[in-house]
């Protein structure tokens, strides 16, 4: 089982990194999006190998949907042929490569050289249940903080992306008696 887990992990690791690298090599932004989705799915499946069942599935499901939205978004707004369009839209490529390699060497070197402590404790028999109990108990504050942030994100996203806001409809001082809408509504009073 351990050997099989090792093999599966390394296959997923190679897929995750190679697909991640191809994100910036594909000539099509739609394909780049799919490559990123593949990278996320590989990492999500790798999480399952360390008994992070819930988090792993959340990552897979959320990122697949997110990449689908991203693909639609790019096809809508970027005005690019989603199939094949040669592109090389980079700046400071050399500096970026140097920074990326330096970051990898620093982090990877640290991972290999740091004398990591031994494991403390053992995982709960049902990790998902333990996570749920923590979120609804001792870690409730985390949920209480994340939830309003999510709501604020929804409101802010709509406010920023909406084509017409209340100032467009009711004037800069919000004192226009009748909203200036392209398609007037109401009952004509």
């Amino acid at each position: 089982m351990t050997v099989l887990a090792d093999v599966v992990f390394w296959v997923l690791a190679v897929i995750a990194v190679v697909a991640g690298a191809w994100v910036f090599r594909f000539d099509s932004m739609a394909r780049a999006t799919y490559a990123l989705a593949v990278s996320f799915v590989a990492v999500g499946l790798a999480l399952l190998l360390v008994d992070l069942d819930y988090v792993g599935m959340v990552v897979v499901l959320m990122m697949v949907m997110e990449m689908a939205v991203m693909a639609v978004y790019m096809i809508m707004f970027m005005g690019m042929n989603p199939a094949l369009m040669p592109m090389s839209m980079v700046h400071d490529n050399r500096k970026a490569v140097v920074a990326a390699v330096a970051g990898f060497v620093l982090l990877g070197g640290g991972a290999l050289l740091v004398p990591w402590p031994v494991r403390r404790g053992v995982p709960a028999p049902d990790g998902t249940a333990a996570l749920g109990e923590a979120l609804m108990g001792s870690k409730m504050l985390v949920m209480m903080a994340v939830s309003p942030v999510m709501v604020a994100t929804i409101v802010a996203g709509i406010a920023i992306a909406a084509p017409r806001g209340r100032y467009d409809r009711l004037g800069d001082d919000l004192d226009r008696g009748r909203a200036d809408d392209p398609q007037p509504g109401g009952v004509g009073r």
């Binding site: 990194v17 970026a96 994340v146």
Partner: protein
């Protein structure tokens, strides 16, 4: 599968994402780079959780990182939509004045 192996893979993901975030001109591609970096953070956090302290606190931390990824993407899409609508810009070089 060891802690070091997982962390090296996470570092590779972070490095690839860093390259994308620094080099890409299209706003959405920059966001993809940031997502890849956070992908590496999630993997590193999972490795730390499993090999060092496998209690629920680590899982909660990973969920917070996933939530941060969601917020980043949602706000990034919203800002990119506004940029596209207001000045037909989809490249970072066309919106450098926003950094002032």
């Amino acid at each position: 599968m060891t802690l070091q192996a997982l962390l090296v893979v996470a570092a590779a993901l972070f490095g690839v994402g860093l390259y994308g975030a620094l080099s890409q001109q299209v706003v959405v591609m920059v966001m993809m780079g940031l997502e890849l970096m956070l992908n590496g953070v999630v993997l590193a956090a999972a490795a730390m959780w499993w090999f060092l302290a496998p209690d629920p606190t680590g899982q909660v931390l990973i969920l917070v990182v996933v939530a941060a990824m969601t917020v980043e993407m949602a706000m990034g899409f919203a800002v990119a939509t506004l940029l596209h609508r207001s000045r037909s810009a989809d490249m970072t070089d066309m919106a450098t004045d926003l950094s002032r």
